[in-house]
Amino acid sequence: MMILAGVGGTDSVTFVTSAVLAFAAITTSITPIVLARRRSTKEATQEAKAKLDEAQKEASNRAELTLGSWTALNGALQMEITRLQSVIDRQQAVIERCQARVEVLEALVRPGKDA
Protein backbone atom coordinates (compact mmCIF):
# COMPACT_ATOMS: atom_id res chain seq x y z
CA MET A 1 0.00 0.00 0.00
CA MET A 2 2.94 2.30 0.60
CA ILE A 3 3.42 3.01 -3.08
CA LEU A 4 4.81 6.49 -2.61
CA ALA A 5 6.80 5.64 0.52
CA GLY A 6 10.00 5.80 -1.47
CA VAL A 7 9.39 9.50 -2.10
CA GLY A 8 10.32 10.10 1.53
CA GLY A 9 10.27 13.26 3.65
CA THR A 10 7.61 15.86 4.29
CA ASP A 11 8.90 18.13 1.51
CA SER A 12 8.40 15.48 -1.14
CA VAL A 13 4.91 14.67 0.15
CA THR A 14 4.09 18.37 0.23
CA PHE A 15 5.35 18.70 -3.34
CA VAL A 16 3.31 15.72 -4.56
CA THR A 17 0.23 16.96 -2.67
CA SER A 18 0.65 20.43 -4.19
CA ALA A 19 0.95 18.82 -7.61
CA VAL A 20 -2.23 16.76 -7.17
CA LEU A 21 -4.09 19.82 -5.85
CA ALA A 22 -3.01 21.79 -8.94
CA PHE A 23 -3.90 18.85 -11.18
CA ALA A 24 -7.36 18.58 -9.59
CA ALA A 25 -7.92 22.33 -9.93
CA ILE A 26 -6.89 22.35 -13.60
CA THR A 27 -8.84 19.24 -14.61
CA THR A 28 -11.95 20.27 -12.69
CA SER A 29 -11.88 23.77 -14.16
CA ILE A 30 -12.92 22.30 -17.52
CA THR A 31 -16.21 21.11 -15.94
CA PRO A 32 -18.28 23.83 -17.72
CA ILE A 33 -16.85 22.70 -21.08
CA VAL A 34 -17.55 19.04 -20.32
CA LEU A 35 -21.11 19.84 -19.22
CA ALA A 36 -21.73 21.99 -22.32
CA ARG A 37 -20.35 19.32 -24.66
CA ARG A 38 -22.38 16.54 -23.06
CA ARG A 39 -25.45 18.74 -23.25
CA SER A 40 -24.93 19.56 -26.94
CA THR A 41 -24.38 15.84 -27.72
CA LYS A 42 -27.61 14.91 -25.95
CA GLU A 43 -29.40 17.80 -27.68
CA ALA A 44 -28.18 16.64 -31.11
CA THR A 45 -29.26 13.06 -30.36
CA GLN A 46 -32.68 14.23 -29.16
CA GLU A 47 -33.10 16.44 -32.22
CA ALA A 48 -32.16 13.60 -34.58
CA LYS A 49 -34.63 11.30 -32.79
CA ALA A 50 -37.39 13.94 -33.05
CA LYS A 51 -36.67 14.36 -36.78
CA LEU A 52 -36.79 10.61 -37.29
CA ASP A 53 -40.12 10.35 -35.42
CA GLU A 54 -41.50 13.22 -37.50
CA ALA A 55 -40.34 11.60 -40.75
CA GLN A 56 -41.89 8.29 -39.74
CA LYS A 57 -45.17 10.02 -38.87
CA GLU A 58 -45.17 11.91 -42.18
CA ALA A 59 -44.42 8.74 -44.13
CA SER A 60 -47.28 7.02 -42.35
CA ASN A 61 -49.64 9.93 -43.17
CA ARG A 62 -48.57 9.82 -46.82
CA ALA A 63 -49.21 6.10 -47.00
CA GLU A 64 -52.70 6.62 -45.59
CA LEU A 65 -53.35 9.36 -48.14
CA THR A 66 -52.28 7.12 -51.03
CA LEU A 67 -54.53 4.33 -49.81
CA GLY A 68 -57.41 6.80 -49.45
CA SER A 69 -56.89 8.22 -52.94
CA TRP A 70 -56.70 4.75 -54.43
CA THR A 71 -59.96 3.70 -52.74
CA ALA A 72 -61.73 6.84 -53.98
CA LEU A 73 -60.44 6.37 -57.55
CA ASN A 74 -61.49 2.72 -57.54
CA GLY A 75 -65.00 3.65 -56.37
CA ALA A 76 -65.35 6.33 -59.08
CA LEU A 77 -64.18 3.93 -61.80
CA GLN A 78 -66.68 1.28 -60.66
CA MET A 79 -69.51 3.83 -60.83
CA GLU A 80 -68.43 4.91 -64.34
CA ILE A 81 -68.29 1.28 -65.53
CA THR A 82 -71.80 0.64 -64.19
CA ARG A 83 -73.13 3.81 -65.88
CA LEU A 84 -71.54 2.90 -69.22
CA GLN A 85 -72.89 -0.67 -68.94
CA SER A 86 -76.45 0.68 -68.51
CA VAL A 87 -75.94 2.93 -71.56
CA ILE A 88 -74.80 -0.12 -73.56
CA ASP A 89 -77.83 -2.11 -72.36
CA ARG A 90 -80.21 0.68 -73.39
CA GLN A 91 -78.57 0.99 -76.82
CA GLN A 92 -78.73 -2.79 -77.25
CA ALA A 93 -82.47 -2.67 -76.54
CA VAL A 94 -82.93 0.08 -79.16
CA ILE A 95 -81.02 -2.00 -81.74
CA GLU A 96 -83.12 -5.07 -80.96
CA ARG A 97 -86.35 -3.04 -81.32
CA CYS A 98 -85.14 -1.66 -84.66
CA GLN A 99 -84.25 -5.15 -85.94
CA ALA A 100 -87.72 -6.41 -84.99
CA ARG A 101 -89.28 -3.48 -86.85
CA VAL A 102 -87.16 -4.22 -89.91
CA GLU A 103 -88.29 -7.87 -89.88
CA VAL A 104 -91.97 -6.82 -89.64
CA LEU A 105 -91.58 -4.42 -92.56
CA GLU A 106 -89.77 -7.04 -94.69
CA ALA A 107 -92.67 -9.44 -94.11
CA LEU A 108 -95.16 -6.84 -95.40
CA VAL A 109 -93.27 -6.25 -98.63
CA ARG A 110 -95.12 -8.08 -101.51
CA PRO A 111 -93.07 -9.89 -104.06
CA GLY A 112 -92.76 -7.98 -107.41
CA LYS A 113 -93.57 -9.13 -110.98
CA ASP A 114 -90.07 -10.27 -111.55
CA ALA A 115 -90.13 -12.48 -108.45
Binding site: M1, M2, I3, L4, A5, V7, T10, V13, T14, V16, T17, S18, V20, L21, F23, A24, A25, T27, T28, S29, T31, P32, L35, R38, R39, K42, E43, Q46, A50
Partner: protein, 137 residues
Protein backbone atom coordinates in the same frame (compact mmCIF):
# COMPACT_ATOMS: atom_id res chain seq x y z
CA UNK B 1 -36.46 7.10 -13.68
CA UNK B 2 -39.14 7.61 -11.02
CA UNK B 3 -38.25 6.67 -7.48
CA UNK B 4 -39.81 3.27 -6.62
CA UNK B 5 -40.92 4.57 -3.23
CA UNK B 6 -42.20 7.85 -4.66
CA UNK B 7 -39.57 9.96 -2.93
CA UNK B 8 -38.66 13.14 -4.72
CA UNK B 9 -37.56 15.85 -2.28
CA UNK B 10 -34.65 13.98 -0.69
CA UNK B 11 -33.38 12.60 -3.97
CA UNK B 12 -33.49 15.86 -5.92
CA UNK B 13 -30.34 17.65 -7.04
CA UNK B 14 -31.48 20.80 -5.25
CA UNK B 15 -31.62 19.07 -1.86
CA UNK B 16 -28.28 17.39 -2.49
CA UNK B 17 -26.75 20.75 -3.34
CA UNK B 18 -28.27 22.21 -0.17
CA UNK B 19 -26.62 19.49 1.93
CA UNK B 20 -23.27 20.04 0.19
CA UNK B 21 -23.62 23.78 0.70
CA UNK B 22 -24.17 23.30 4.44
CA UNK B 23 -21.13 21.00 4.71
CA UNK B 24 -18.83 23.35 2.79
CA UNK B 25 -20.05 26.40 4.71
CA UNK B 26 -19.42 24.62 8.02
CA UNK B 27 -15.93 23.59 6.86
CA UNK B 28 -15.24 27.18 5.74
CA UNK B 29 -16.44 28.78 8.98
CA UNK B 30 -14.57 26.22 11.05
CA UNK B 31 -11.33 26.78 9.11
CA UNK B 32 -11.71 30.53 9.57
CA UNK B 33 -12.81 30.57 13.21
CA UNK B 34 -11.32 27.35 14.64
CA UNK B 35 -8.07 27.05 12.71
CA UNK B 36 -6.28 25.67 15.82
CA UNK B 37 -8.48 22.56 15.65
CA UNK B 38 -7.43 21.88 12.06
CA UNK B 39 -3.80 22.69 12.80
CA UNK B 40 -3.71 20.18 15.65
CA UNK B 41 -5.12 17.36 13.49
CA UNK B 42 -2.27 15.51 11.69
CA UNK B 43 -4.44 14.68 8.66
CA UNK B 44 -4.47 18.34 7.59
CA UNK B 45 -0.81 19.05 8.25
CA UNK B 46 0.34 18.97 4.60
CA UNK B 47 -2.75 20.78 3.32
CA UNK B 48 -2.14 23.58 5.84
CA UNK B 49 1.49 23.78 4.74
CA UNK B 50 0.37 24.43 1.16
CA UNK B 51 -2.25 27.04 2.09
CA UNK B 52 -2.99 28.57 5.53
CA UNK B 53 -6.25 27.71 7.29
CA UNK B 54 -7.85 31.10 6.57
CA UNK B 55 -7.19 30.68 2.82
CA UNK B 56 -8.76 27.21 2.78
CA UNK B 57 -11.58 28.58 4.96
CA UNK B 58 -12.21 31.43 2.54
CA UNK B 59 -12.28 29.00 -0.41
CA UNK B 60 -14.69 26.61 1.33
CA UNK B 61 -16.90 29.43 2.53
CA UNK B 62 -17.02 30.96 -0.97
CA UNK B 63 -17.84 27.58 -2.47
CA UNK B 64 -20.51 26.85 0.17
CA UNK B 65 -22.13 30.25 -0.28
CA UNK B 66 -22.09 29.87 -4.10
CA UNK B 67 -23.88 26.55 -3.67
CA UNK B 68 -26.38 28.17 -1.29
CA UNK B 69 -27.16 30.92 -3.81
CA UNK B 70 -27.49 28.23 -6.51
CA UNK B 71 -30.03 26.38 -4.36
CA UNK B 72 -31.99 29.62 -4.09
CA UNK B 73 -31.60 30.49 -7.80
CA UNK B 74 -31.79 26.90 -9.01
CA UNK B 75 -32.90 27.84 -12.54
CA UNK B 76 -29.75 29.88 -13.24
CA UNK B 77 -27.64 27.36 -15.09
CA UNK B 78 -24.43 29.40 -15.09
CA UNK B 79 -24.60 29.76 -11.30
CA UNK B 80 -25.07 26.02 -10.86
CA UNK B 81 -22.14 25.30 -13.17
CA UNK B 82 -19.97 27.77 -11.21
CA UNK B 83 -20.99 26.17 -7.89
CA UNK B 84 -20.30 22.65 -9.15
CA UNK B 85 -16.96 23.68 -10.65
CA UNK B 86 -15.66 25.43 -7.51
CA UNK B 87 -16.99 22.66 -5.28
CA UNK B 88 -15.47 20.05 -7.58
CA UNK B 89 -12.06 21.73 -7.53
CA UNK B 90 -11.93 21.62 -3.72
CA UNK B 91 -13.44 18.14 -3.46
CA UNK B 92 -11.16 16.57 -6.06
CA UNK B 93 -8.14 18.40 -4.64
CA UNK B 94 -8.71 17.26 -1.08
CA UNK B 95 -9.64 13.74 -2.18
CA UNK B 96 -6.39 13.37 -4.13
CA UNK B 97 -4.39 15.03 -1.33
CA UNK B 98 -5.76 12.53 1.21
CA UNK B 99 -5.13 9.73 -1.24
CA UNK B 100 -1.48 10.79 -1.48
CA UNK B 101 -1.35 10.91 2.33
CA UNK B 102 -2.88 7.42 2.49
CA UNK B 103 -0.23 6.11 0.12
CA UNK B 104 2.65 7.81 1.93
CA UNK B 105 1.73 7.34 5.58
CA UNK B 106 1.11 3.98 7.27
CA UNK B 107 -0.80 5.62 10.14
CA UNK B 108 -3.78 6.72 8.04
CA UNK B 109 -7.06 5.11 7.08
CA UNK B 110 -8.98 5.31 3.78
CA UNK B 111 -11.82 7.10 5.59
CA UNK B 112 -10.73 10.59 4.53
CA UNK B 113 -10.36 10.13 0.78
CA UNK B 114 -13.42 7.87 0.61
CA UNK B 115 -15.47 10.58 2.36
CA UNK B 116 -14.34 13.13 -0.20
CA UNK B 117 -15.14 10.66 -2.94
CA UNK B 118 -18.71 10.55 -1.63
CA UNK B 119 -18.84 14.36 -1.82
CA UNK B 120 -17.62 14.02 -5.40
CA UNK B 121 -20.36 11.54 -6.21
CA UNK B 122 -22.98 13.90 -4.78
CA UNK B 123 -21.60 16.76 -6.90
CA UNK B 124 -21.81 14.53 -9.99
CA UNK B 125 -25.44 13.76 -9.15
CA UNK B 126 -26.15 17.48 -9.03
CA UNK B 127 -24.28 18.03 -12.32
CA UNK B 128 -25.98 15.23 -14.26
CA UNK B 129 -29.29 17.06 -14.97
CA UNK B 130 -27.26 19.98 -16.39
CA UNK B 131 -26.16 17.75 -19.26
CA UNK B 132 -29.77 17.33 -20.40
CA UNK B 133 -31.13 19.75 -23.01
CA UNK B 134 -33.98 22.06 -21.98
CA UNK B 135 -37.49 20.58 -22.37
CA UNK B 136 -39.12 21.15 -25.78
CA UNK B 137 -42.05 23.56 -25.94
Amino acid sequence: MPDPLGRTAFTSGRTTLGVLSSAFTIFGLSLLLQSHRWASTPAYHVLLLILPAFAWGALFLASGLTMAVSVWQYRRRWLLVAAITTGGMLTNGWMLAFFVRYLTSPSTTPETWVSWMVFDYLLLRVAEPLTSPPPRK
